[in-house]
């Protein structure tokens, strides 16, 4: 049960403005707490990691006390956390310390996040569409196709990307060398910016590390369950087409699945962006952690947490809108 659904299900039988406000308040509180928790987690991780940003400033040791005071590293972790939250509430995410010294974090994070969402959202959509189509084809049938999907999808994202890049490059190079094709605009991966590289990232993210297999398995289970449900039997007895019933019933589990997988896709971005040299929020988070650039890493954690929370919230809203049972009061 997700948070929004739980909040709304606990409302009294007669909806009124007060209870709606309470439910919304709970949602917003949970959202803000998640963001604060994500920032604290990132701050603690960087704190526990050996070294700090001063270590990465040339000659920093000689002016450690000056830099620590300037960057607010001379106060306890909790105080730093509180100060960061207070500043973030006003929209000030600080400035990068070591990775892009002096650059405003918001100016770095927002374009990178937009680029990453351009990969993650289509990847989520592709995983759902592919998973659903494959599940439709395999549900209730011998499991050979299912195993094929699982074998393809079980390859980790980094391996799938590495192999695909090398196969595409080698194939193109052989054809080029023989004069069979003109030089493709995307060639050679992963250096050249092109739509092919973006599509490759989306496909690998959607398929690799078990994403497709998990979506496929979950949807297939749902399809089997729905096909055996009494209301489908009734429709079948009436001679009505089954597909609309099954598809409509699939929406809530698909939405839940999407919301749950969002965090996974956000995590996968770090890997795929590093391998394909895509300069999104995932690659930036990696660099920020290596550079112990706490403001930048926390800004990215904040945005990532917001994206995951927003996906869950959106999922709840969609489920409530399509599933009337969730809108009814509990006995």
């Amino acid at each position: 049960m997700t948070l929004a659904a739980a909040s709304l299900e606990r409302r009294p039988p007669r909806t009124n403005a007060r209870s709606l406000l309470v439910a919304l308040g709970r949602l917003v509180s949970a959202f803000l707490l998640t963001l604060a928790g994500a920032i604290l987690a990132m701050q603690m991780l960087l704190h526990l990691a050996p070294g700090d940003p001063v270590d990465l400033v040339p000659g920093g040791e000689q002016v450690r006390s000056v830099l620590e005071a300037e960057w607010g590293l001379d106060t306890p972790l909790v105080a730093r956390w509180g100060r960061y939250l207070a500043r973030a509430a006003t929209g000030d995410l600080g400035t990068s310390l070591t990775w892009r010294p002096g650059a405003p974090v918001a100016g770095l994070v927002l374009p990178a996040t937009a680029r990453s969402l351009g990969l993650a959202l289509p990847a989520v959509g592709l995983a759902l569409v592919l998973g659903t189509l494959l599940a439709w084809a395999t549900a209730g049938r011998p499991s050979r196709r299912r195993r094929m999907v699982q074998v393809l999808s079980i390859a980790p994202v980094f391996l799938l990307a590495f192999v695909t890049v090398n196969v595409l490059n080698e194939a193109a190079w052989i054809l080029l060398e023989r004069g069979l094709i003109a030089r493709p605009s995307w060639f050679a991966l992963p250096d050249t910016e092109s739509g092919v590289k973006t599509v490759l990232a989306i496909v690998v993210l959607a398929v690799g590390s078990g994403s497709l297999a998990e979506v496929h398995a979950a949807v297939e289970d749902e399809i089997v369950r729905i096909r055996n449900a009494p209301f489908v039997d009734a429709a079948r007895a009436r001679g009505a087409p089954l597909a609309p019933h099954v598809l409509r019933s699939l929406v809530p589990p698909l939405v839940t699945l999407t919301a749950n997988r969002t965090a996974f896709f956000v995590g996968g971005l770090v890997v795929i962006e590093k391998i394909l040299l895509l300069n999104g929020a995932g690659a930036m988070l990696w660099q920020a952690c290596i550079a112990r650039d706490a403001p930048l890493a926390m800004g990215l954690a904040l945005v990532a947490a917001a994206v995951v929370c927003a996906a869950r919230l959106l999922g709840d809203i969609v489920r409530l809108s399509v599933d009337p049972r969730l809108r009814e009061p509990r006995p």
């Binding site: 374009p111 605009s185 092109s194 300069n279």
Partner: protein
């Protein structure tokens, strides 16, 4: 100049038989291609006062100029300077500057820029990594718009050799100190042959030749590409997606050297690898233990899998004038090592050296980005384990490295390398007060010699002093001196007239040509 790549002929695919070919045939318009070279990590800032990596030094070489630069024989030759006169006592130098130079923003270059740069570097609040380069200058005095007088702390014999640091445009800074977070970091303005056009979304940096600078047949545009995965770098050169690799990995040499579209350029670097002891830790504070460990290491066997090079015997590479060729290299002598360890009170029990019941174990630390360090450490582990000494390897990222090695000094043995510019100054590494002396090495005789080498104006005295430093440091074994690797740059065969500066790489880029 318009440059075009010599791609293979764009003959359309004749038949419809190959789906793959059709899918792959997104034609690239025949357009100008810049000279593209790869770096593992793009510079965070382009600012000659805060250069910390070789990638940053290379970009600075393209964008900025110094008063003097190197000619192809590595002798100092005027850059922004026109002429200079040294006072008879060697304590002052009057430098006449070129009047035909403008900054990339159009402002004229003047003596004020030189005075400002020196003052900014000397200002402790600037926190410049390059401050040591001007520590020997006491004062920079503006004489007129194109003349500056430099007053030195000590008499100097060849001050022009130290006047290679890059000059900043004073008109873009309100005052000293300079801040590394100022806007100049991403809007650098220099007088060099290339100006920065853009810092791109993919972390690449595009530079364009300054009109009127150099030969118009030179490279019109230079692009620094960040290719963080070293596995791809050589491939991208072969695929003609890059024009140059600054340094070829040893494992890629075999593929590249036989490829018809690639030229390899060997170049000498003043860099050497070492295994440095933590001299404040027992038992590595005992010279005999250090000598024993050095004698247990088969340096040739460590070098062979990672490339070719010369084994070094001390802190100067064999080609250096300061190398003492009388000093023998560390040899693999297990029997001598056994004798030394026995003398130091160790006994070999169950094939392990122990003292007072404690086994001899080394925590060997290396930087994660040091090429081939994993192969070296694993082979070292195998060699020492065979000899009865345990090895605990660890690979650290930059921040962990600084904290563990420099601040906490939590290691027994560190595998790393030092790279030096033309001055080959090892003062900071081996003087007891040196800022880079992380091993804790202290020898009063070495201190005196290093101080003498810094202050003398007589090159022969300097040479004699540093050759003695070479011998003393070798004998004290604060580190096991390993090797200087042969370095190769790889260029597409479309690039001609390439001469590489061993340290700054792009010093003579204006002579390079591309088909």
């Amino acid at each position: 100049m318009t440059m075009s790549s010599s791609r293979c002929p764009c003959r359309p695919y004749p038949g419809a038989g190959s789906l793959a070919a059709a899918l792959l045939a997104f034609a690239l318009p025949a357009s100008a291609v810049p000279f593209r070279y790869a770096e593992d990590l793009a510079p965070g800032i382009v600012h000659p006062l805060y250069t910390t990596t070789m990638a940053e030094a290379r970009i600075s070489e393209l964008v900025f100029d110094g008063l003097y630069t190197d000619d192809p024989q590595l002798a100092s030759t005027p850059g922004l300077a026109l002429s200079a006169g040294l006072s008879p006592d060697g304590r002052e130098m009057t430098v006449r500057l070129r009047e035909d130079v403008t900054w990339h923003d159009g402002a004229p270059f003047t003596a004020r820029d030189v005075v400002f740069t020196i003052q900014a570097m000397k200002d402790a609040s600037t926190l410049s990594t390059e401050s040591g380069r001007v520590a020997w200058i006491d004062q920079a005095v503006l004489v007129d718009a194109h003349t500056v007088r430099l007053v030195f702390r000590q008499p100097e014999r060849r001050p022009e050799d130290k006047l290679h640091f890059k000059i900043l445009p004073a008109h873009l800074f309100p005052e000293t100190p300079i801040r590394r977070t100022g806007t100049f970091r991403h809007r650098p303005v220099g007088t060099g042959p290339y100006k920065v056009i853009s810092f791109n979304e993919d972390n690449s940096i595009t530079m364009r030749a300054v009109s009127g600078e150099g030969d118009p047949a030179g490279l019109a545009e230079v692009a620094m590409r960040e290719v963080s995965d070293k596995n791809y770098q050589a491939k991208l050169l072969l695929y003609e997606s890059l024009e140059a690799l600054v340094r070829v990995l040893p494992r890629d040499l075999a593929v590249l050297q036989n490829h018809r579209k690639v030229e390899l350029y060997p170049y000498q670097t003043n860099s050497w690898w070492y295994l440095g002891f933590n001299l404040d830790r027992t038992p590595y504070d005992e010279p005999s233990v250090r000598q024993a460990i050095a004698a247990l290491i088969d340096i040739d066997a460590l070098l062979a899998p990672i490339g070719t090079g010369d084994v070094v015997s001390g802190p100067y590479v064999p080609s250096s004038p300061y190398c003492n060729h009388q000093v023998p290299r560390f040899e693999h002598q297990p029997s001598q090592a056994d004798a030394l360890l026995s003398e130091a009170g160790f006994v070999k029990e169950a094939r392990t050296w122990t003292r007072n019941g404690q086994p001899l174990r080394l925590k060997v630390v290396s930087h994660r980005t040091l090429e081939s360090s994993q192969e070296v450490v694993i082979n070292l582990q195998s060699q020492l384990r065979e000899a009865g000494i345990g090895v605990e390897p660890e690979f650290l990222d930059d921040a962990s490295w600084k904290a563990r090695i420099w601040r906490e000094r939590d290691y027994d043995l560190v595998l790393s390398q030092w790279t030096f510019d033309r001055s080959e100054d090892v003062y900071d590494q081996f003087h007891s007060s040196g800022t880079r002396n992380f091993t804790g090495y202290a020898n009063p005789e070495v201190d005196t010699l290093l101080e003498k080498a810094r202050t003398t104006t007589d090159p022969q005295v300097k040479k004699t002093a540093l050759r003695e430093v070479h011998r003393l440091v070798h004998d004290d074994v604060p580190m096991v001196f390993l090797w200087t690797l042969d370095s190769y740059a790889a260029f597409s065969s479309r690039v001609h007239n390439v001469v590489i500066h061993p340290f700054y790489f792009f010093t003579w880029v204006q002579n390079w040509r591309m088909e």
